[in-house]
Every structure is written in C-alpha cells, then in structure tokens.
Symmetry: C2
Subunit: 639 residues, 2 copies
C-alpha cells in the first residue's frame, strides 16, 4: 500500500451555482500514489510540459502572434479551430498548477495567456483563422467556422485559470468574447443580428461554467438559447451538426459523437442550474439509449470514420470502431454532470469503464504519443493509412484536438471521483487518496484495479451525528464484501450504491473487497460485429490480445476456448506493470477455399476446434500499441 499522503486538491470543473438542483455536490480527492497517480504524474511531467513546444511547432502560437500583430507570415494549420488546442492546453496547465506550484509552467501559462489576450480584437472577437485568413467573414459559415466552439474552449480555459490561479487576465478575455457573442446572437425579435448556432456545440457548457464563475445570468440564458436552437434547420438540418431534430424530441444519440456529447453536457448543465425537468429527462433518455445501443465495450463512442458518427443502434464494428479519444472525454464530462444531477450510480459506472479503457488507451504509457481513434481490432495484414486515424501512436495530430483534451481531463481527474450531499460522502471511483466532503475526510488505500481490496479510514467526521458513507458497487462486480470496524457488514446494494450509515469516529475503518475474477463477456445478439465472440474482462478493465505476445501466426485465426479457466498473472516488468489474463485457445486450421471465400454451409468443413493449442496472453486494452506494430483483438471468436 502506498504511504505517501496527499491533501485535497484545488477547485476543478463543474462548480455548481447557488441555485443548482443537483442531487449531489462535487467533492475533491487528494490522489495518493497508485494507478491514477502514476498516470497523472506522467501527464504533469511529460505531456503538459511538452505542450508549448508542440503548439509552437504546429503553428498555433505563431497564429496568435500574427493576430496580435507581433509577428509576420501566414496562418498555419489546416482547420479553423486550431486555437482550441491552445485553450485546452491552458486549461490542462491551469488545473495542474492548482495542484502543484511550478514556476516554469506558470511562466509558460502567463506568456500564452498574454498572447491570447493580445490577439483579441477590440470588440471581444477572437479567432485567428478568421482574423488572418477570412477577414471580414465572421459568423458567415456557422456550419464549419467553429467560432463559438473556439469561444467555448477559451471560456473553459479562462474559468480554469481563474479558479486555479485567482488571476482574472484570461477570464476578462473570455468575458469580453462572451459579451460580444451575447450582443450578436439571439432569437428573432431579440434585437441581435444573428439567430444561429455553431456547427460544433461546446460553447453551451462553457457558458454555464462562465455563469457559475461570474454569477452573470446572461451567460446561462445564452446557453439555453443555443441548446434549444439545434434541430431547427439553422445549419441545414444535418445530424452531423446536431441539427436534424431538436434535442428535446430526440430518442437516441446521433451524428458526430463529440458534438452530440458536448451538446448534452451543456444541456445537462442547464438542467442542473435551472431545474428544467424536461431537459433532465432528455439526458436520462439519451444516455440510456446511447449505452444500451451505441457504446462499445470499452466505453468508446462512435461507429463511423465517415463523419465521426454514432451510427445505427447495435452497429458497433470492431476494426472500424471510431471511438475518438475526445468522445470518451466528452462522455465522462457528460456522465459526471448526470451523476451529480441525478445521484444515480450508473453514470459513474460508465465513467469508470471509459476512464480505464476507451479514454486511457488514447494516451501512450510515456505520455508522449496519442491515439485519435481507438479501434477494438487491428487485423492481420492491416495496411496503416497513417494520418490522424492511424493505429500507430502519433506524436501530434494534424487535427490535434485529443492530446490537450486528454491532458485537461487527467489534470482535473480528482474532480470526477467523489461527491457529497446532506447524508454524507459518496465514493464514485476507487483510488488511493483522501476523499473530503461536508466536513468528512476518508482516506482510501488500494492497489485497484490490480487488487480488489480498498481500505477506508475515517480521518475527519462530525462528532455527534450519523452520516452515510456511500460506496458505488461497480456494475461489473458480482461479489462485494464489506467489513466495518472489523465486522462483516450487509453488502446488499441499492441501485448501485452500498450505503453505510452510522455515527463515525476518527480511525474507523471500512474494508471493501471487490472480487476481481477474470470473466468472459458476451454482447447483446444484435451487436452483429461480435457474434459468437467473447471479450476478457477483469474488474473495470477490458483486455485484448496483441500480436507481439503471440508469435507463430496471426491473431485472426485464433479462437478462445471458453470452457478452460482463465488465469491471472501480474507482470511488473510488462507495460509499466500490468496484470495479464492467460487463457486457452487454438489456432484454427482454416481450409483453403481457393479464390472464393464463401461456401455452401453443408460443404463447410471448418472445424474450429481443430488446430494447435495456443496460450493466449491478454493485456489491458489501455496498454495496447505501446510496443511493436501488429494485430490486436478485444473480441475473440469462441471455439
């Protein structure tokens, strides 16, 4: 068990307003050494410090200097939203500074904040693409221009910077831009010149945060206006832009996954701050439809490369799973808002699954390379097309949305783990660290996800009244045992929460045991892509096979024997230390069908149980693509 101790961390995203109708209040966790502490250390020491250099070489900072009149040359970059890479990095750096003072990082932040401020136009507008390339064409291509999307990320960075440092330098920039937008956009009859929305939602959730940070109600109203103008054909009616159907009438998620999820995060923020029951019901309905019909096992979202689209219900391909890293992040952001709004555990179930799998796979173990898409299969004989959608980790992307997005999530991760309410403290995710809320402090010690024991010690407690320690029982968990003060405790959960109510004393100890038996998982039969397959899982982790662990043939002719037991082997030497799962399989002898691979079923002689036995070594999915190139499979055909 780690012995280094942290204190609760600084403020983070989603600071609820005074009138918020949320069931739960976000709480802070000071993360101690362990699984996520290590990933966050890599984020702090490798990923974030490299940001300015990468933003310099990709041209983003150059563009800001040009817009500020401090340099000469041409706009660089392929997209009108390249400024957001800077904003997301600033947000990540701000959350990082909130936890750990760092003069070098603070200096970089100051330098870049000053550059952003200098690039802003006198009326508050700020977008280097339009200022440098499309002068005079503001807001004329809302479908593709991304101007409000960029404003949204600027606002989020500014809120983070203000919360983290107390400086209002960037917040002032954001307020000026928001006020400018508020003077331009509004419904017919409002006196504003443009009734419009951005092709890429994002400003909505940002404006709610700006309302939370400044108390200025106009920003909340503006967010509400934008949310309800989608789906009325202002952008041509395309699902891609969330414009096919009004959100309040939607029955499932659709279109570009990140756009849909950011819009839903904003709508959920609105429901939280305004008590809009219909909008809350929209969130509940679409979240359930999404998870039940359009979510990959890893929590990854998006089934089409084309248009980065959600696809149809149960259309969940493996090799073409898009599962953009940004969509995983957006899913976590939205689900956390739903968790706070409703108090229900399932939202944090999805967060856990996404964090450990669909999200974390996007970041290399060394924090220096990234995946934009996160497929569940790379075939034998795959021809890598290179580019942003490569199955090889990439130093930086042409469309570099994912890396700084991952940085900001990791840097603020402690704000997605716990909550409090009038009954006490809720632990949503199990990490080593100090959970604090409502005058309560509970220390957790665990080697989760490798081991299932979580030791919880009450460090601070109100002296003379009972309160409830609520523990999320993971959706995947089939056996949980709890001892409280040395005695077995009734471990029956209700709606995903195990609630321990008593009058606590400092030093009281609760020991939770989550069974981490590896298991085989099958999909709903309508998920055609994985018919006849199983996936290996253990605890919150999805596992996969990689070619490098299986010499002597490809992966696509391997079948798994589900009747043989799965064995667990911890490998401290492998991939930064992982627990592997060892399974029994065979290499199929596939008959040579000649030039035509389709055969009458009554002449099919495939005998999948034939072939040589092969020991299968499954690694956690998040760690794939950190060694040599080659095939990978999550779903394994059964013999």
């Amino acid at each position: 068990m780690p012995r280094t101790r942290s204190t609760p961390s600084a403020p983070g995203p989603v600071r609820l307003g005074p009138d918020a109708r949320a069931a739960l209040r976000p709480a802070a966790v000071g993360i101690d050494p362990g699984f996520w502490h290590a990933r966050r250390a890599t984020n702090a020491h490798a990923s974030i410090p490299q940001g300015p250099g990468l933003l310099e070489s990709a041209g983003n900072l150059h563009n800001l200097r040009l817009a500020a009149g401090k340099d000469t040359g041409e706009f660089r970059g392929a997209y009108p939203f390249v400024d957001t890479d800077v904003y997301k990095w600033l947000e990540a750096a701000a959350w990082q500074l909130a936890q750990t003072p760092d003069d070098d990082l603070a200096g970089e932040v100051d330098r870049i904040v000053a550059l952003v401020a200098a690039a802003q136009q006198p009326d508050g507008y700020l977008n280097t693409w339009f200022q440098l390339v499309k002068g005079g064409e503001r807001y004329q291509d809302l479908r593709w221009g991304h101007e409000l999307y960029c404003a949204g990320h600027l606002i989020q960075a500014a809120v983070a910077h203000h919360r983290a440092t107390g400086s209002s330098e960037l917040l002032d920039v954001a307020v000026r831009f928001a006020d400018h937008i508020d003077s331009v956009f509004g419904p017919p009859g409002s006196g504003r010149p443009i009734d419009g929305i951005d092709g890429h939602p994002e400003v909505e959730t940002a404006l709610v945060e700006l309302y939370r940070e400044t108390g200025e109600r106009r920003y909340l109203d503006l967010a509400a206006y934008f949310v309800d103008r989608y789906g009325h054909g202002l952008l041509g009616g395309e699902a891609y832009c969330q414009d096919r159907v009004p959100l309040r009438e939607a029955t499932n998620v659709e279109g570009h996954a990140v756009r849909q999820l950011y819009l839903l995060a904003g709508a959920t923020d609105l429901a939280t701050e305004t008590g809009d029951a219909e909008l809350r019901a929209v969130g509940e309905r679409l979240w359930r439809a999404m998870t039940a019909t359009k979510t990959h096992l890893t929590g990854g979202l998006g089934a089409h490369h084309d248009e980065e689209d959600f696809g149809d219900p149960y259309e969940l391909p493996t090799e073409r799973a898009y599962c953009e890293t940004c969509a995983a992040i957006a899913s976590i952001q939205w689900s956390w808002r739903m968790a706070l709004l409703t108090g229900e555990a399932r939202y944090s179930d999805l967060i856990e699954r996404t964090l450990y799998n669909g999200f974390l796979a996007g970041v290399s173990l060394d924090g220096e390379r990234w995946l934009y898409v996160n497929p569940l299969q790379v075939r034998d004989g795959h021809t890598d097309t290179g580019g942003d959608q490569s199955a090889r980790r990439t130093r930086w992307f042409r469309c570099a949305c994912c890396p700084p997005n991952a940085m900001r999530l990791l840097a603020s991760l402690e704000h997605y783990l716990a909550s409090g309410d009038d009954t006490g403290l809720q632990i949503h995710q199990y990490v080593s660290g100090l959970y604090t809320a409502e005058g309560i402090a509970v220390r957790a010690e665990t080697d989760y996800p490798w081991h299932g024991t979580i030791r919880l010690t009450v460090e601070e407690t109100p002296a003379d009244r009972p309160w409830t320690l609520s523990l999320r029982v993971p959706q995947w968990c089939r056996d949980i045992r709890v001892r409280c003060a040395g005695q077995p405790y009734d471990s029956s959960a209700s709606e995903g929460w195990l609630r321990l109510e008593r009058t606590w004393s400092p030093g009281d100890e609760v020991v939770v045991e989550l069974t981490l038996e590896p298991r085989l998982t099958a999909a709903d039969p309508r998920v055609d892509a994985v018919r006849g397959c199983a996936a290996i899982e253990r605890g919150p982790l999805v596992y996969c096979l990689e070619q490098v662990d299986h010499p002597g043939g490809g992966l696509d002719d391997i079948v798994l024997d589900p009747t043989r037991p799965l064995a667990v082997k911890h490998r401290p030497d492998l991939l930064g230390g992982v627990t592997t799962v060892v399974a029994a399989g065979r290499r199929r002898d596939i008959p040579d069908h000649g030039w035509w691979p389709y055969t009458a079923t009554d002449t099919t002689t495939d005998a999948p149980d034939d072939g040589d036995p092969v020991e299968l070594t499954a690694i956690p999915y998040y760690a794939w693509a950190n060694r040599e190139d080659g095939g990978m499979r999550v779903w394994l055909p059964l013999s």
Copy 2:
C-alpha cells in the same frame, strides 16, 4: 421460351488489337427477350433518354456551353470531374445506337458531341472546371484535379461513338486531347514538361482503346508510362490514389476501389496488347487476393465509406459495405479483360455474380433511380443521412458517376458474354440470344436465372471440321447435366469449362440443366462481420430479407433455422417477377439487459431458439429498395 429473335449486335468495347496476346477473342451476342433483355429495354427506354434532361438540370451541359462561349453564368457542380457524366452518357448512347437506330437519341448525341467539340480549347485541352473556375492552373493539382480521368472517359466515349456511328467528330476531339496529353506528360528526359499521373486512374485503359481504334502506338506507350508511374510518390504516396506501392510489387488490392480497378483494367489491357507477362501475373495475383479476401458475397467491392477504400483482408462489413455501383462496373470491366487474356472461367464467374447482384442492385427496376452504395444490411432503426450514400434510391447524385456508368454497361452488355478462339465458341454467360464467333452461330433459349434449363441450337457451323462449344460451369453450380443431340453427355468440367468437341451440323441441339436448388452459404471464418450467419442463394442470385415482407417486428431479431428446407416460389406479381425463397426462422426473445448490452457469458440467458416461428420471404438482392423504406439483411444469424 421467348420466340423473338435478335441478330448479333454491333461493335462494343475491348476490340483487341492485331498483336494482342489474348487467349480469347471477344464475341457478340444478339440478346433475345429474357432477364437481361428486359433490363436493357428499361435502360434504352427510361434511363438513357432521361440523361440529357438530368445533365441539363445538374448543370453539366451548361458548363460545356460556358466553356464553348455559348452561354453566360457560373460553373455548376461540386466536382472537377462533372464532364465525365456527359462522356459516360455519350458512351452509353453510342452503344445503344449501335444496336437500335433512334433518331431522337441520335439527335441528342449529335447535339452534345458538337457541344463537347466546341468546348475544347485550341491546343486540345478540355475540362470545364479548370477552364471556367481554375483558369491557368492546368495539371497543377493532379492528385485531385481529375483532368486525365476526364480525358479517359472522353476517349472511351469517342471510341464508342466512332465504332457505333462511324462518325469521327468526337474521336477527333479525343485524339486532339490525347495528343496534347502526350505532349505534356512523360518520364524525365523525355522532353515533356510533366512527369506525373492522375489521382484517379482511367486514362490508361482509355488510351489502350484509342490505340486499338486508331492504330497509333503512341497511345499505348503513354498508357504504359502512366501505369508504371503509380506507386512512386508522385501523388504523395497515398494508397487512396494508388500511389503507395508500384502495381508490379503489390500483393493485394488497396485504396479507393474504383481507382484500383480502373488501373488494373488498364494494366490488363496493356498486358494483352504488349504481352507483358509480369503485368499479366500482377493481374492474376491481385484478382485472386481481391476475390479471396476483399469481395462481398454480392461481388460488391469496397469496405470503407471513408475514402471509398478496399479495407483490410476479410474486413467485409454488412451495413457499411460500400460496394459502389461504379466499383461493380469496374470489376466487370477488369474481369472481362482478364477472362480474354487468360481464357480462364473464374473471371466470368465473378462477372456473373457481380452482374446479377452487386451491379444490378444499383439500378432501380424502373431505371429511374439509383444506389451509389450497395450495403448488405440496413438496420432496424437506421437513420438515413440522405445524400449520395443514402439507402434510398435517388434520382440523381451530387457526384453522379454511377448512373451513366450503369447505362454504358447495360448498353454494351452483349460484349461481356461470349468469346471465340481457334477451337470454337465459349459461352461465358447464359442469356437468351444468338452467340456468334468464328463462323459459328448458336442460339440459346432460357429463362435463366429463374430456371436452369438452357437450350442451345447450332444455327451456323463450318461444315467439315470439328470445333468445341465451351460452356462455363458456374462456380456456384453443384450439378450440371448436358444432353447433346438427345444423348447424355459427359458433364465433367475442367477448370470451369465444359468442352463439347465434335463436328456440328445446323440444327444440332445441346440442352444444359443447371440445378437451381436454393442453398445456404457461409463465409470464411475470418470474415468477422458475418460470423454465425448464412446467406440464401439460388443460382447466381444472392437473396435478402426486406422489412416490408416481414411485418410484426424488425429484421435484426430474426434468426434462420438452417435445419428446415428452403422452398422456392415464383411470384410473377412481385418486383417485376421474381422467384422468392421461403425459409423458416424465429424472432428471438432478446432479454432486456438494461442500460448495458454486455453480459458475463455464464449469466447470458439468451436462448436464440426461443421465440415465435416466422416465415421468411427472401427476394433477390438486386430488387431490394424498390418498395417502401425499411430494414434489409443478406446475412442471417443462424438459430
């Protein structure tokens, strides 16, 4: 049996040159009433006559008038290759005129040919996009400009026009453009200013045809130069543009399917005319790799919407099968060239499969609406995105490559059915009509593909020497019986050919019986997308289920019972008259998994054999999407 008689048709595409090294010589068939006669009548009476009006309303003819200085306004259309829609229509109309005089059609052709000629620039260059929109930027964006691609379709139209009408008006235009290209493009040291290739191959096969039509060897040399310059990074090295690897080194088809196939057609033409054995081996190798690992059951090609790409080996999704109609056409064109070059029957096996399924599905039964992509599944709850890739048939496309391409194939279909050589006549495809070659004429009478009987009568024969009537035994066929002059004949085939050698007399009759028992077909187990499924086939036809025939639920919860017999029912009332296959299935009772569709295998209670029996009515795949919208499935999960 139909009794109307046709005579052999006019010239068509692929007229071999005097030095060609082909094993077979193309032969003509006069098609009598029957399956293809009806489709060609629709092409002649509905599709082709509507072409000029559609090309007018889409702006293509307007662009030519602008380029000719005969009109004012702006270029219309979204792509630099819109001229090819005109050229492909002209080619279709020319082949049609070669068969049936038609003053109205001839008048339209004359008018549009004159317009094309008037739009040509003095030095021979012709491309309305560049002339009108990108003045002075010729050949500066070969990756996307499509200038040589457009030239290729112009040349093919001109060759067709010349062969069909004897007029050299369009051929002169094509020759001037080809001479211009020949003066501009060439290898370093050739004195030509540009060493380059077009991002979209097509001009190569066209130049070989121009060589065949004019006898001018320079066009053959130019085609050879282009073919061998792919794969050397001249276009940035992308597989999309066929530029990742030289064709002679390739091991499988890759990149944009139509581009790959047109390039291979050109390479095969070259191998045929020059005797280049290496290029022939390339064709054999890539054709086999394509069919064995990258071809859908329908003959459709292309697994990715994104980049219209072939995808990886065995990556053959159902709902996202791209299977562009143009790729099916290109596959037929290439395979026919391979069939002539090698004399091997398997190339015509693929042609048959593609004609009846992957190609024909692209054309509506009324000849007035089209599919650009031809998926093998439309899910319950599918959200149609509209646009060119819609699963609903569309009157015309923004990128209207497919409709006139289908018209030109149907109008020249009789040239893909038979061949001759020194041994006699080869029948590749079974249609009612008169097969003629080498002084031989054989009349075929059949209701194929609905019935398996083909009655062949010798009408003309050399008097005093034996010759061989070669009949392709379809790859799908498990039982063929032949009676020759009333006597059973040894029906053992060799390499797909049943060869009947004898001295024939006029009136000799051969009766072929192909067993048309419906069958269930399974895929190689590496085709993950259809694991645990079967498809219904009968003869050359792939079948599918449509929602409209299965009220009371969706298609995605239906399973097929493979132990129950398949029944055949001819339905003259349905879809223009089709033979349906009736099968036994059930509607699965799929348990409600709540919000998460993945379950531990040992708790899975799915019992796919439960559920209500349902009679399944399968229709030929080519006829789908001609009634109301709804789900469709080719591959059916087995109970």
